[in-house]
């Protein structure tokens, strides 16, 4: 952190006093891997390792991040090829044992292709790549990724994607709602769910979901791009802080 003043988000204390270890997976075409690494190491002073997609060792990570980007050039479908990378077998085993996995943007697309989360991300309904700040309501305050965030907080975090239009069939949506698996929704700055503030056409304005067990989070917005005060917004840091303090 460059500035002398205290970071607005770094006040929380971890449950055990232990700092978690993070792993950031690097696929060919990942481009937010360094952003995630920078935030976790420089802003939070966590232990972070890059995990090359051809490796299988997660280097004792407590939390594995699948970063944003265009893995394998988005060929075939977003995330379709990355999902068969050697590292993904380890990530799936890790998640099955309860390890925390966080997929951001392309990472979310990969989690869906790997069927670690339900549903699919279609082309934005505008057919345009959308890159702007959006507002997110927190629909599930019990997840380790959101527990530390005050309940009526609306997060301002940027999105940058061409395929972020979340879709699932009615049965899947019902199951997501019944199990409190919708974590973030696109909303207006004062927290109202409407079409105007839905950047991509996602069904029910869904911006992020979690698995039933609560250890695999997928989200389209980029919290790592809204964590350093130098960039003028820090709401994204609340998510990293929440999962960091969970340990």
């Amino acid at each position: 952190m460059q500035s002398e003043t205290a970071h607005p988000v770094l006040s929380g204390k971890s449950a055990s006093g232990r700092k978690p270890k993070f792993g950031v997976v690097v696929f060919p075409g990942s481009n937010c891997d360094y952003d995630a690494y920078y935030v976790l190491r420089k802003i939070f002073d966590y232990d972070v390792n890059f995990l090359w997609h051809k490796e299988t060792d997660l280097k004792n990570s407590d939390v594995v991040i699948l970063p944003g980007g265009f893995s394998y050039g988005d060929y075939l479908r977003t995330g379709a090829i990355a999902r068969f990378s050697p590292i993904m077998n380890s990530v799936m085993n890790f998640a099955e044992k309860g390890g925390f996995v966080m997929g951001i943007c392309n990472g979310f697309q990969i989690l869906l292709e790997a069927q670690m989360l339900p549903g699919v991300l279609l082309r934005n309904n505008s057919l345009q790549f959308v890159c702007k700040d959006v507002y997110l309501s927190i629909e599930n305050h019990d997840s380790p990724f959101t527990k530390g965030i005050e309940s009526d907080k609306v997060l301002k975090i940027p999105v940058a994607h061409g395929e972020g239009n979340y879709f699932a069939d009615d049965a899947t949506l019902k199951s997501l709602m019944d199990n409190n698996q919708v974590v973030f929704k696109y909303v207006s700055p004062d927290g109202i769910v409407n079409d105007e503030y839905n950047p991509n056409g996602s069904v029910l304005n869904i911006a992020g979901i979690i698995n039933k067990r609560g250890n695999i989070l997928g989200m389209m917005p980029h919290p790592e791009r809204a964590s350093d005060p130098v960039l003028g917004k820090t709401d994204g840091a609340m998510i990293f802080s929440s999962i960091g303090n969970f340990f």
Binding site: L76, V120, L122, S126, D169
Partner: protein, 123 residues
């Protein structure tokens, strides 16, 4: 007898390679399969790309177009002379990688293919 040999050489290639397989190979080159895969969006999934393209048709003055839906066509060679084995691999390729069953359906055809045809096609 000659007719019988010709029949078995050229028309009986559907299943396991028969005792005449080496003979066939010597005439035609090794036999493999060409797969042609069609991937379509499931009917319940909106296709904004199809809709946008359809608007282009209207701009061109082509009036009677509706329900444009855009899919993918993929072709490849399956390197075996056993059709059952080829079908199994193509199905796995289609269902696990080429298509996503949540949003897409696939169909495919398999036809016999010889390297000679490949060459001719390339020229």
């Amino acid at each position: 007898m000659v007719f019988f040999v010709i029949y078995f050489t050229f028309f009986q290639r559907e299943t396991e390679p028969g005792p005449l397989a080496p003979f066939k190979k010597s005439i035609l080159g090794s036999i493999v399969f060409k797969a042609k895969v069609l991937i379509k969006r499931r009917p319940s999934i909106l296709d904004p790309q199809g809709k946008a393209v359809e608007k282009g048709a209207a701009h061109l003055g082509i009036k009677n177009i509706r329900d444009t839906r855009i899919g993918k066509y993929i072709e490849f060679i399956v390197d075996t002379d056993n059709k059952t084995a080829a079908e199994k691999e193509v199905k796995e390729y289609c269902s696990r990688l080429l298509s996503n069953p949540i949003m897409e359906d696939f169909e495919f055809s398999l036809t016999e293919w010889t390297p000679a045809e490949d060459k001719a096609n390339a020229e």
